[in-house]
């Protein structure tokens, strides 16, 4: 999620209107609207401030960049839903066949 999405999601979960969040954060409803719409790119500190004003917190940690994994997601998104289901069905077929093959290998 991007900063604006965190702010909007935290406000929704807290059941606050933009005006109510603005009052808690000491700003205006229009300023909250600009952040949430992406019209204004908030700093990281501002996002944390607004999320905390909604009663939540953000935790950050460094994780390895998974470029290759994201490439797979991009490829899946290029498929139609039917093609994705077809791929999954093939995997399930292989799973059944594999299980039988492993049992045979152990017996042999």
């Amino acid at each position: 999620m991007r900063g604006a999405q965190f702010v909007r999601e935290a406000r929704h979960r807290a059941g606050l209107s933009q005006a109510e969040l603005a009052a808690r954060a000491g700003t205006t409803q229009s300023a909250i609207a600009r952040v949430e719409s992406g019209t204004e790119a908030p700093t990281l500190e501002r996002v944390v401030e607004l999320v905390r004003a909604s009663g939540f917190d953000l935790q950050f940690r460094l994780v390895p960049l998974e470029e290759a994994e994201w490439a797979q997601v991009e490829a899946l998104l290029r498929l139609t839903p039917a093609e994705r289901v077809d791929r999954f069905e093939k995997v399930l077929e292989l799973s059944s066949a594999g299980r039988r093959a492993v049992k045979e290998a152990r017996r042999g």
């Binding site: 470029e67 490439a71 490829a75 292989l94 799973s95 066949a97 299980r99 093959a101 492993v102 152990r106």
Partner: protein, 162 residues
Amino acid sequence: MGEFEPEKILEALERNGVRYVVIGGFAGIIHGSPHGTGDVDITPEQSRDNLERLSRVLVELNARIRTAGEPDGLAFDHDAASLSRTRVWNLVTKYGDLDLTFEPSGTRGYKDLAARALRVRLPHVETTVAALEDVIRSKEAAGRLKDQITLATLRRILEEGG
């Protein structure tokens, strides 16, 4: 992304005499896991001869580096020496994604895995798959959040007699 035809990837490896062990999510599928994976993971044996055969297979499969923003992957030159210099290769091939990992997490590589790997006959190809215990061991050591559900399934399969 075209069709995912993992058996065709394995068939090319087998036909060219590459020594390898299937690991990771695809090994889990062979052992009966219903949790999908988008690639075939293998641990190749690291002798020069074997990596030369592997390099030829990669040419045959039109293997390219898999990376975000490049649907067809990035072309790369490879031979036995260059393949051995990088510990993990994430590739896209004409039959789907192929990952080469010389020392999967929690293991000591090919010899370690081959010691109790199984030779299994799938519908269209015979292949060598890591023992379920080793698939679990590697996923546990990797400690990735996405593996947690799969791990619960694999442990259950192991409890049920593998």
